[in-house]
Amino acid sequence: MKEQKNIFNRQPDRSKYPAKKKNGKLDIDLSSGKFVKLWHGPNHPGVTGNMAIELTLSGDEIVDAKTHVGYLHRGFEKLMERRLWIQCFPTCIRMCVAEPDYNEYLLAKSAEELSGIEVPEMAEWLRTLVLEMARLQSLLRTVPGQAGTLSLGIGVQWGVYLRDLVLDLFEELTGGRVYHMYIIPGGVRGLLPDGFKKRMEEVLGKIDEFVKNIENLMFNNIVFKKRTKGVGYIKPSWVNKYGIVGPNARAAGFKRDVRKDYPYLVYDKLDFDITHETDSDIFARSMIRKKELVLTLDLIRQIMAKMPKKGDIKAQTPNVLHWKIPAGETYVRSESSRGEYGFYTVSDGSTKPRRINLRGPSYTHAVVLLEKLLINANIADVHSIMVSLQTCPPEIER
């Protein structure tokens, strides 16, 4: 009797794959009928933000991928060169919609470092709180978002509801839901409102429940495991070669975290360990982000418990309409939910910045790394791989 082949384990026919030309480019002849071009985005529900991936397929397997950005370019870096330093705050926050507070912090930090301004301790605690709240609301989208890529949409609905509760807290503290402009040069805009700690604890309690549910929905779910284990594998040797940072590097076994390695604000007064995994696939990256979520809940509770009751929240700064920042340049960094997020700032001694350049993690993750990871991947995994890198197009095109 003839042995029946298992069609699900069939190996692809490698003879169809494109050979490389002498100049190193792939020899893809679309007229041969062996390959198909498919645009994944920009108008596609399965793409993160405003970007597109130009895929070349052989059957359902990807042989070439190119990232295209520019659908959201507003020239923020250029616009800031025309504005006073204080006017740059409402501009810079829009460079990353997912976590705008890091932009405020880094711009304020750059101006303070170049001017030699010391920020009061109370303001440092409040800044740390706001940055961790920003991480929390970002992870409430990203962690269940990974489940959403595999049609486990209920997790996304839980996350959206809880994120809204965090945005309520932001609104109470800063007056804004998505963009806050709470961090200003020299400090922050205000103290915690009365009863804020109690309301914060109520929200954190609900997120604790969510973590238990997401554990069952994702990490104890056979569908999720089958679709994510061994898929989108990042070799540890690529971490330095491709500039991989944050959770994507930590999932590959690299214990790197700006909060520990280059302590800023009050992170040196908080007790925490760097999250760590070794498998470096989508499952490991999802697990890292879930651990980060738990860590953020813990850090917010620590901040609430250790924060001074009162104190100055702003250092003396010159009149912001005439403030000339001394000439010089600096690079400051922080750990966003996606990894190292930094500002390179140059001042020529005038009232406006000479140059501000954002170093966002997606600049490498969504371009060279994603293009590399998608080769030989199945078309059904494109979305999961992309979301697992937590790509954010606005920070690529600024």
Binding site: V69, G70, H73, G75, E77, K78, L79, E81, R82, R83, L84, Q87, E113, N240, K241, Y242, G243, V245, R256, D261, Y262, L321, G328, E329, T330, Y331, R333, E340, G342, Y344, V346, R354, R355, N357, R359, Y363, T364, V367, V368, K372, E397
Partner: protein, 185 residues
């Protein structure tokens, strides 16, 4: 303990700076923080310097590459920021290139993501990196015919006024004047 760590970082940094100073004639050394220093190097020696830092001095992590337009001096400043993850040190290498002949040796073989930075610099500043992969392909802009928009002589306001149709009845205020008038009476 913290003081000890701080002094050891400063010692390591000075030995690294001494090493590159003896080999590459770096100038304008600015110590921004204990773990961050800016140096300037000649255009011809810059790629050799960052290759040496990567290969022999442990600067394995490439942070960023960007440009600053010093139009008054007729120069572009290219800044390469390198990080040593083990020693937790940053060294930024600056090099000045002519605005008229804006070309620089490519560094894409050192780190994969550099090709993307160079592609962006070609598009936004008009700085060429011959030999860099896909350097001539559009990155962010599409069908752009004007001068590279991140150059200082490109005026965003004039461009917007000439390109976009003004909405009838809309008032425009200079932000600085508006703030002076309304917020600081």
């Amino acid at each position: 303990m913290e003081k000890k760590n701080k002094s050891s970082i400063v010692n390591i940094k000075s030995s690294i700076i001494d090493d590159i100073k003896s080999r590459f004639e770096i100038t304008d050394i600015v110590h921004r923080r204990d773990n961050m220093t800016f140096v300037t190097c000649e255009k011809q020696k810059t790629i050799a310097l960052i290759t040496h830092m990567k290969t022999n001095l442990g600067f394995k992590h490439f942070v960023l590459l960007t440009a600053v337009d010093w139009i008054e001096d007729g120069k572009f400043q290219l800044t390469y920021i390198l990080n040593n993850p083990k020693q937790k040190l940053d060294i930024a290498v600056r090099t000045m290139i002519s605005r008229e002949e804006a070309t620089m040796e490519t560094a894409h073989k050192l780190w994969k993501q550099i090709a993307t930075y160079q592609r962006e610099l070609k598009e936004m500043f008009g700085i060429d990196f011959p030999g860099s992969p896909r350097v001539d392909e559009n990155f962010i802009l599409e069908g752009w015919n004007d001068i590279p928009p991140y150059r200082r002589d490109f005026d965003t306001k004039v461009y917007a006024e000439e390109t976009f149709f003004p909405r009838p009845g809309r008032k425009t205020n200079d932000p600085a004047e508006y703030m002076k008038k309304n917020l600081h009476k």
